[in-house]
Amino acid sequence: MTGAPLPEPAASPTATEEGVPSTARPPQPRWRQTLVLLARNPTAAVAGTVLLLIVLTAVFDEAIAPTGPNEIAVEDRLQPPSLAHPFGTDDLGRDILSRVILGAAVSLRVGFLAVTFALVVGALIGLLAGYYGRWVDDVLMRFMDILFAFPAVLLAIAVLAVRGPGAGNTALAIGIVYVPVFARVTRASVLGVREDVYVRASRSVGASDWRLLTRHVLPNAAPPIIVQTSISLAFAVLAEAALSFLGLGTQPPNPSWGLMLAEGRGFIDLAWWLAFFPGMAIFLTVLCFNLLGDGLRDVLDPRQRTLMAGSGR
C-alpha cells in the first residue's frame, strides 16, 4: 500500500529522535503518549470508557448478573421490561438482562480469541513476506489472496461445517477469515519501514534478522496493526453474532447475543424486548470498537485514514 517510509506519528514530539536506536528513547513510553492523546479525543475516550465497562461486565459476569443464565421461571415468561426485570423475560421466563450480561462474556471471548489468532498468524505472515520479499513474499501473499477471495461469511460457515459448532471453532472460523487482512496490513507497513535508516544502520553493524525484526521493524510497523486490531474486534463480535444467529456458532442454552436474537425473532410480534436488547448490546459493542479504532488511527497513524476505512466488511 505505502511505498514510502512510514513516518513516526506526527503528534509525537520526539518523532525525529526515534531514528537513533536505543540511546535516544523518548522520555515517556509510547503507549502512555498514545493514551494521553487518545484521552483528548472525546469520541474515542467515551468509546474506550464504555468498552472498558463492557469488558468488566463480561469479566465479572456471574457476580453482576441478577440471576443465572438458565434459571427458568415459566410463570414469569414474556414479561415486559419492569423493575424486577429491566430488560424483560423470555419465553422460558429467563431474565434477559442476566442473559445479555452473560452473553457479553461469550461474545467478547470469541471475539478476542478470533482476533488474537488472526493477529498472530496474519502479522507473522505479513512480517515474513514484507521483510524477506522475493519468493517468500510471492508464495505467502498469493496464498493470502486466495483466502481473501472467498466470501467471509461463507468461509466461516465452511470452517464451522468442517469443525462443528461451538465457541472455540467459531473463534477459529472468524480468525481464519481475518488472517489475510492482518497479513496485508502488516506487510504494507513492514515494506514502509524495512529500508529506513535505523534498520539499515542496525543491519550494517551486524544485528541478526531476529533482532532487527523484533527491535526495529515490528515496533515501528505496529501502528496500522494496532488500528486494524480494534476494527477487527468490532467485526469479530458482529461475525460471532451472525454465525450464532444462523445456529452455527454458540449453541443453546448458552447465552450469546446472536443466538438470543435468533430465539427472540420468533416472538417479535408478542415481545419486542427479546430481540431488541441483545441487538443493542451487539450494536453498542461494535460501535465502540469502531470509534476506538478511528481514534487510535488519528493518534497513531494519520496517513492511513483513507486506506483502511471500512476494510473487512
Binding site: P151, L160, A161
Partner: protein
C-alpha cells in the same frame, strides 16, 4: 483455487448418502447410491472428475434433491442478482451525496451528522436491523410483506414491495462504508494542486467540481463499490434468511446443513469466480476512468 474449494468441502464431516437416505435403507441402495455419486472413488479421482466437469458448466448433482447443481444455482441467481444490485443502488444513493456534502463542508453540522450516521450504519448488525424493520413496516404499520420473493415478470408490484426492505438493510450497511470512502477521496481531490490551479485560473466552481474533483474521486469509489458488490453477490446469508429471500446464500447454508457437497462446492466456486470477475471489471473501469493507468 478449485483445489481449495474441493478440499475444504471434503473435510465436512458426516456421511451425505446416509443423510440423503434417511434412517431406513438397506445396504444395497446405499452401495448403489455411493457408486452413482462417485463417492467410492479415490479423492484425487473425484477431484479430477469434478474439476473437468466444472469447466464445462456441469457442477454435478445435488445429493439431496437430485437436481443438477447448475440448475439449482440458476434458480437462485436471479434473486441474488436482484438484491445485490438493488442494494448497491441504495448504497450509492446514500453514499455519494452524503460523502460529497460532508467533504465539501468538513467539520460542519452536515459532516458530523454524516459521520455519526455512517459509523452507526457500519456498526449495526444487519440481521437486527432487518428484524426491527420487519417489526415496524410489516408488523405495526402493515405496509410491506415481511419477506419472500416473487419474480418481476409475475408481479412487479409485489416484487418491488418485497425487495424494498432487504435492499434497504444491506444498502444502508454498504452505503455507510462507501460514504466514508467518498468523503475521504473527495477531500483528497479537493486538496490537490490541480484543483487549486483550476480555481486560480477562474473556472466556475461547478466546473472545477465536476471535472477536477469528482473525476479524481471516482477511482477509489469504483474500487470500494466493487468490493461491496462482491460482498453482496456472495449472498448476504443472514439477511436472506431473515427475509426468506431465496438467494445463493440461503442455498449455501442449506447445503452446509445437509452435507450436500456438490451444491456447496458449486456455490463457493461460483462466489470465488464472481469475486475475480468483479475485480477484473474494476480494473477495466480504472483504465476507462483514468487514462494515466493505460500508459
Amino acid at each position: 483455487m478449485s483445489v481449495i474449494v474441493f478440499g475444504l468441502v471434503q473435510l465436512v464431516p458426516g456421511d451425505p448418502i446416509r443423510l440423503a437416505l434417511g434412517t431406513r435403507f438397506d445396504q444395497e441402495t446405499y452401495d448403489a447410491l455411493l457408486a452413482r455419486s462417485g463417492l467410492d472413488q479415490p479423492l484425487v479421482q473425484q477431484y479430477v472428475t469434478w474439476a473437468g466437469r466444472a469447466l464445462t458448466g456441469d457442477l454435478g448433482v445435488s445429493f439431496r434433491s437430485g437436481e443438477t447443481v447448475t440448475s439449482l444455482i440458476g434458480e437462485r441467481l436471479p434473486a441474488t442478482l436482484t438484491l445485490a444490485f438493488a442494494s448497491i443502488l441504495v448504497a450509492l444513493l446514500i453514499a455519494v451525496p452524503l460523502g460529497t456534502l460532508s467533504a465539501l463542508r468538513p467539520r460542519s453540522v452536515v459532516d458530523r451528522v454524516a459521520t455519526v450516521l455512517s459509523q452507526i450504519g457500519i456498526s449495526v448488525p444487519e440481521f437486527w436491523m432487518a428484524i426491527v424493520l420487519i417489526l415496524v413496516f410489516a408488523g405495526t404499520l402493515g405496509w410491506l410483506p415481511s419477506g419472500g420473493y416473487v419474480p418481476l415478470t409475475e408481479d412487479p408490484g409485489g416484487w418491488a414491495q418485497r425487495l424494498l426492505l432487504p435492499a434497504v438493510v444491506t444498502g444502508v450497511v454498504s452505503g455507510s462504508v462507501i460514504t466514508r470512502f467518498v468523503r475521504s477521496s473527495v477531500l483528497e481531490a479537493l486538496g490537490a494542486d490541480h484543483v487549486r490551479t483550476a480555481q486560480a485560473k477562474g473556472l466556475p466552481g461547478r466546473q472545477v467540481f465536476t471535472w477536477h474533483v469528482l473525476r479524481n474521486a471516482l477511482l477509489p469509489l469504483v474500487t470500494v463499490t466493487g468490493v461491496q458488490l462482491a460482498y453482496l453477490l456472495s449472498g448476504v446469508v443472514v439477511v436472506e434468511i431473515v427475509f426468506a429471500w431465496p438467494g445463493l446464500g440461503q442455498l449455501a447454508l442449506q447445503a452446509v446443513q445437509s452435507r450436500d457437497y456438490p451444491v456447496l462446492q458449486g456455490a463457493i466456486l461460483l462466489f470465488a469466480v464472481v469475486f475475480l470477475l468483479i475485480n477484473l471489471v474494476v480494473d477495466l473501469l480504472y483504465t476507462a476512468i483514468d487514462p494515466r493507468i493505460r500508459r
